[in-house]
């Protein structure tokens, strides 16, 4: 299989990469770029641990071919904090006991950013709906829902 060149912006940085057409975006992020925050949890789109933003849209990187994101802007969990300052969503997760083993968290925080960008004041029901594609085995989702609501309040004050 011939490699193709793709140009992407990853967390604000321009990158030129050589990828095979069958390489998954998840593996390119983790193995070629060393961005290991995004995780493999199931490979079949059922757990959300691989969620990243592609042109600000939340997508499952384990079901995305890297070649198809040529020209796109990608944000991973590593790109959310700016100048060492936590994004309000990250801050809310840290302060509201929403993090236990932490493996599901990058995917959920990325999804929460997309959710709040589109719906700044979600209800509990809307947050639960948004968590549909995310598996968290540790928290039972309760403090995660609280954290997303807290983030929503913090972000609307800003």
């Amino acid at each position: 299989m011939e490699e193709r060149k793709i140009r992407v912006k990853i967390n604000g940085r321009d990158c030129e990469l050589s990828v095979k057409p069958n390489e998954l975006l998840l593996n390119v992020l983790r193995n070629k770029l060393g961005l290991c925050g995004t995780k493999y949890g199931c490979g079949t789109g059922d757990c959300g641990a691989c969620t990243v933003l592609v042109n600000n849209e939340p997508k499952l990187s384990c079901l995305t071919l890297a070649v198809t994101v040529d020209g796109a802007e990608i944000t991973t969990i590593e790109g959310l904090a700016t100048d060492g300052k936590l994004h309000p969503i990250q801050d809310a997760f840290v302060k509201n006991g929403a993090i236990q083993c932490g493996f599901c968290i990058p995917g959920i925080i990325i999804m929460a950013k997309a959710l709040l960008d589109e719906n700044p004041h979600p209800t509990d029901e809307e947050i639960k709906e948004a968590l549909k594609g995310h598996l968290c085995r540790c928290t039972g989702y309760i403090n995660i829902i609280k954290a997303i609501k807290a983030a929503s309040m913090a972000m609307s004050k800003a």
Partner: protein, 278 residues
């Protein structure tokens, strides 16, 4: 055992920029090719090694497939329009039925999944299928040989099977305008059974009705037998019960649970559509 961490399958990759380029590739490679849109079904199938295409044609970069427009009183949805875009589209505001059905799709899949992909994957649980069938949608299929527009009903021929020829690309979904005063309703019991109903009434009589179902059945279908039992008749306990029998006839007799909940859900959905009709 398969390996869901990587894609083992090797293929030649194409990124056509127009529909013409895409169908040209399909003409050349036909059965050995697969069309990639959102990837949420195809890539899973490839990881599970249910399919191993030699050629992969990514249609995500074809702008003409991404638009939603009007043609007369029809709404035309490009095959690459995502679930998310459909939820937001002004043109689809008059079709709450469609929104109700795709509301429950998980957030990431709403952004990745396309209506064309949803139809062509042809899962019996396809989210867009029951509402589109009840809305009497048509699809445009394009190939090098020409193009044709057929009722969506004719697309679903079996479990994950469509009537598309190997060289055909689904490019548009046409949704006709709803009759004024129509009532629509959607209901589902997670993955097991779902109904979409479009009903128009004159007093207590049902003028016209369209009923579609999906879920733990062979394929998404319109339940024409139920429709004909209701059209031109009063909608009461008896006619609803008969219509329900027609619905049950479409469910595997061994599947006692789905049959039970269908008897609960179908009358509810029908009732809701009926009450919304004027």
């Amino acid at each position: 055992m398969v390996n869901t961490r990587i894609l083992v399958n090797e293929f030649e990759y194409f990124e056509p920029k127009t529909v013409a380029e895409a169908v040209d590739l399909l003409a050349r490679f036909g059965k050995e090719a697969k069309v990639l849109a959102g990837g949420t079904n195809l890539l899973v199938d490839m990881k599970l090694e249910k399919v191993s295409p030699k050629y992969l044609i990514y249609i995500g970069k074809i702008p003409e497939l991404r638009s939603i427009t009007r043609a007369g009183s029809d709404v035309i949805i490009g095959a690459n329009v995502t679930f998310f875009e459909m939820m937001k589209a002004a043109e689809l505001k008059d079709y709450p039925l469609l929104r109700e059905a795709i509301e429950s799709v998980q957030l990431e899949i709403k952004r990745m999944g396309t209506i064309g992909g949803n139809i062509c994957n042809a899962a019996p649980t396809a989210s867009a299928a029951p509402p589109l069938l009840a809305l009497e949608a048509k699809v445009k299929l394009v190939s090098k040989r020409g193009s044709r527009v057929i009722p969506l009903e004719e697309v679903f021929v079996g479990d994950r099977q469509t009537s598309l020829a190997p060289d055909e690309l689904l490019t548009e979904i046409h949704i006709p305008a709803l009759d004024g005063g129509c009532g629509t309703a959607f209901g589902e019991i997670k993955r097991k059974i779902k109904f979409a109903a479009v009903v128009s009434r004159q007093g207590d009589t049902c003028k016209r009705c369209r009923i579609a179902m999906g879920g733990d059945v062979e394929r998404p279908i319109r339940v024409r037998n139920a429709e004909s039992l209701l059209e031109g008749n009063r909608v009461d306990e008896n006619t609803v019960r008969s219509a329900c029998e027609a619905v049950l006839a479409e469910i595997d007799p061994e599947n006692w649970y789905v049959r039970e909940i269908a008897q609960y859900l179908f009358p509810k959905v029908l009732q809701e559509a009926w009450e919304r009709a004027r």
